[in-house]
Subunit: 329 residues, 2 copies
DNA sequence: GTAGCTTTGGAAAACGTTTTCAATCTGGCG
DNA sequence: CGCCAGATTGAAAACGTTTTCCAAAGCTAC
């Protein structure tokens, strides 16, 4: 069996309190005994039981991350930004995902709740206030890429709307007047924000949306939407896709249909995923700072856990950046 | 504060033993009290403290996953295969990564150790036997994509070597005689296996390796290696890259150098990452069944945890598949 | 030599839960 | 009416640790 503090005490010939004092340095102990205890602990390979510690109300040492889904390089970027910092600190990371409905979401939340010192939640489906209410009020909590209004809530978002706005402006400045939009999944925060940015961008130039097509962030739906785009009258001269994956689908579908990008039709995406610079033509896109978002979220969470945040809550909005490449050249 | 079983007992006017019995259904309790206890627990929102449970030697309910690194769609595929099953079962997932040296590796291991019921370890740097020895003998453990010889160890690997072998044969059958290999990071298991498969494939057709170039699985090094390939004499007619990312780098570098793929030079990769079918030309590659590997690993681990595996240890080798596309056409 | 202080070590409480053990109560049967 | 079996119930131990509280012992200063 795994050695307990009692085994160490017996081997060193002292009481368990003495062992605890030596190992935690919490009080002075005779040098000789101190050495004996250290030796015994080493030989046995003793490590305190984390469950016992956490029962005593000490820190658990873990951080939970709740994501809408795990797949996708965007999310692994986010995670790796977090992981770097937690593993530096000797903290562990609990990751969960795939919450389609609120029952499942709450179940996952309950599983995480008492096992971590704090939680990072990326919720594209439920606003931060709702999720906040599902959790104990004293649990440190940071939201990422989540709809939030309450200024008391700590959150880190990327400027989805502003990025989409500027991308739309970019297309308009290129002379496009008939711009279609390939939407993301209904009811998800980032998709809605990007759509809003698009509409506002058009409105800022006195234009009306001509075509807003349903899609769900996947390659497949991007490809499947091509016929609808080609059949539209007037036919759009540019398509702004709500994410890179669906833009890639467009690229593929358009090439198969014999159209040239950007000569016949311009394409833009959002994410700046790894492949967007590799695609042919390379994809004009809005860069989402996912790694930075992960890093900022974990930093703010740790500050909140350690109480060193000085009570600074509120929303941080990370800037997004236009990356102009061939697909709109 | 969070309600304890004592709060529930007080509210229901019974002892804590009765509460425990009702909530776990471990013994018969008067119907009326049963109802009172249920009501009290509901009103208070009572949930057992996981630390207390785990202190009693009950299952912790978690599974740990140790990866060489988190970034990359390959790894998120692996993770999502695992996550699907664990979250179905109400288990949680602890993820860690980035172990460069063995001190860091062991530190991460220690952090995970007592907090999970079992561990999935993907170790490209240390063989399974070594890692096994670092952990308590009774911890359920499954390796993935890790060098292993001991038949007592449970492991799931993809057939890296066989896939590389068949890819090499494919290139030879296409008439290539001067085939270069773009290596993965030194000393990592999958990279070495792929290199071995390549060499064996050449040997099977009486060929000698002409050019084995150092690289590290990244886009950048693939691109940077292009000059060395073009300068080689005799110049290779095909390059087999140890993974897709470095193959994409090659594609980019070759295009910039004005060469056509596959007419001037053929390219093949390993992984079948999402973009390999999107690249232009689309990339011939060896499909690595990462999601399947995650699923198999977690299934075998859960069987071991639940003791329903009937003592079946040993290595499962998942087949890899040649995916022929334009880059070698 | 003794009062009072410091240093040291051990016993025990506390954290939240399950489980074992013993006690009480109920009803049936002789 | 007395007794036994079974059904309910509660008290207490156990899990591994930190920490508080006491007691003992050594020391200083008078």
């Amino acid at each position: 069996m795994v050695p307990t503090i009692r085994d160490v005490a017996k081997r060193a010939g002292v009481s368990i309190s003495t062992v605890s004092r030596v190992l935690n340095g919490s009080a002075s102990v005779h040098e000789e005994k101190k050495a004996r205890v250290r030796a015994a602990a080493d030989e046995l390979g003793y490590r305190p039981n984390p469950a016992a510690l956490s029962l005593l109300g000490q820190r658990v040492g873990g951080v939970g991350v709740l994501l809408p889904y795990i797949a996708g390089d965007i999310f692994s970027e986010f995670l790796s930004g977090i992981d770097r910092i937690t593993s530096q600190q000797g903290r562990f990371l609990m990751v969960s995902s795939s919450h389609r409905n609120d029952a499942e979401f709450r179940a996952v939340l309950r599983g995480l709740e008492r096992r971590v010192d704090g939680l990072i939640v990326m919720s594209t489906e439920f606003p931060a206030e709702t999720v906040r209410a599902w959790l104990p009020a004293d649990l440190p909590l940071v939201f990422a890429n989540t709809e939030v209004h309450d200024p008391e809530i700590t959150a880190v978002n990327a400027d989805n709307r502003g990025g989409a706005f500027r991308m739309t402006e970019h297309l308009v400045e290129r002379g496009h007047r008939q711009i279609a939009f390939l939407k993301g999944p209904d009811g998800t925060y980032d998709a809605e924000e990007r759509l809003t940015g698009f509409r506002e961008g058009l409105a800022a130039h006195g234009l009306e949306p001509v075509l807003e097509l349903p899609c769900d962030f996947t390659l497949e739906c991007g490809e499947d939407t091509v016929p609808a785009i080609l059949a539209a009258d007037p036919r759009p001269t540019a398509v702004f896709a709500a994410n890179d994956d669906s833009a890639f689908g467009l690229l593929t579908g358009l090439r198969e249909a014999g159209l040239r990008v950007p000569e016949d039709i311009a394409i833009a995406g959002v994410d700046d995923s790894k492949f967007s610079q590799l695609a042919i033509p390379s994809l004009t896109t809005v860069r989402m700072p996912m790694r930075q978002m992960g890093r900022t979220a974990i930093e703010r969470l740790l500050a909140e856990i350690d109480g060193t945040n000085g009570g600074s809550h509120g929303l941080t909005v990370l800037p997004t950046e236009l990356v102009l490449r061939q697909s709109t050249a």
